[in-house]
Amino acid sequence: MNLHLLNRSPFSSRIHDDVLNAMGPEDQLLLIEDGVNGALDNAEQHLAGLEGRLFALREDLESRGLLGRCAENVIVVDVDGFVALTEAADKTVSWF
């Protein structure tokens, strides 16, 4: 199981398509930096099929005022959670 990190917004880039194409059925996706824009309700169409495997970094959500605006399927984690996800994964793959 790999952890994928995405720091680009799905509204301004289409890198999420490449991420989804490279993700295995158990791989997890953590949205960081501008990537957390993908936690909004309206981004669900772009990041479909990740039930239980879609995470967003709390600190980056907070700094953008997005913490209360996340879609239901997004699991919010803090930096410790980020570390835990990294530890649980075989490899971490960055997308930028």
Binding site: N21, G24, D90, S94, W95
Partner: protein
């Protein structure tokens, strides 16, 4: 999961054989230095005897098109580095078929290197088969 790796497979199934480092190339030539840096990283690892694979995906597939030249400001392209890969024994080169299709390109267009086209499941298997993945 990938800690338990089977021995490299021989012959035509070598596509998913284990390896040390998979370098994902996601940027085309000229617009940034990502592509050249990724290729150089692959060559450094190979020079130290690591088993290296390359995956051209996203705009990275543009690196494989013929007819590239130096940029308007004299910037180096990447075709010379691609040509050198063989001298570094980097021989496992893969292309994301979906990235090609999205750009209206086919296997006939990617002529600079001998490559293996991979569909989604094979791309996933590839990232699992290598013990490290670097993204450029």
């Amino acid at each position: 999961m990938s800690d338990v790796m089977t021995a490299p497979l021989a012959g035509d199934d070598a596509g998913m054989a284990a390896g040390d480092l998979l370098v994902m190339l996601r940027h085309g030539p000229h617009g940034s230095s990502w592509l050249r840096e990724g290729l150089e990283a692959a060559m450094v690892a190979a020079a130290f005897g690591r088993e290296v694979g390359l995956l051209f995906t996203g705009d990275g597939v543009m690196a494989l098109l013929e007819g590239q030249q130096v940029g308007p400001l004299g910037q180096k392209g990447s075709d010379n580095l691609l040509a050198a890969l063989e001298m570094y024994d980097v021989e496992r080169c893969y292309v994301d078929a979906a990235a090609l299709r999205a750009r209206g390109l086919t296997a006939q267009d990617v002529t600079l290197l001998p490559v293996t086209l991979l569909e989604h499941d094979e791309v996933v298997a590839l990232t699992t088969a290598f013990s490290r993945v670097l993204s450029f």
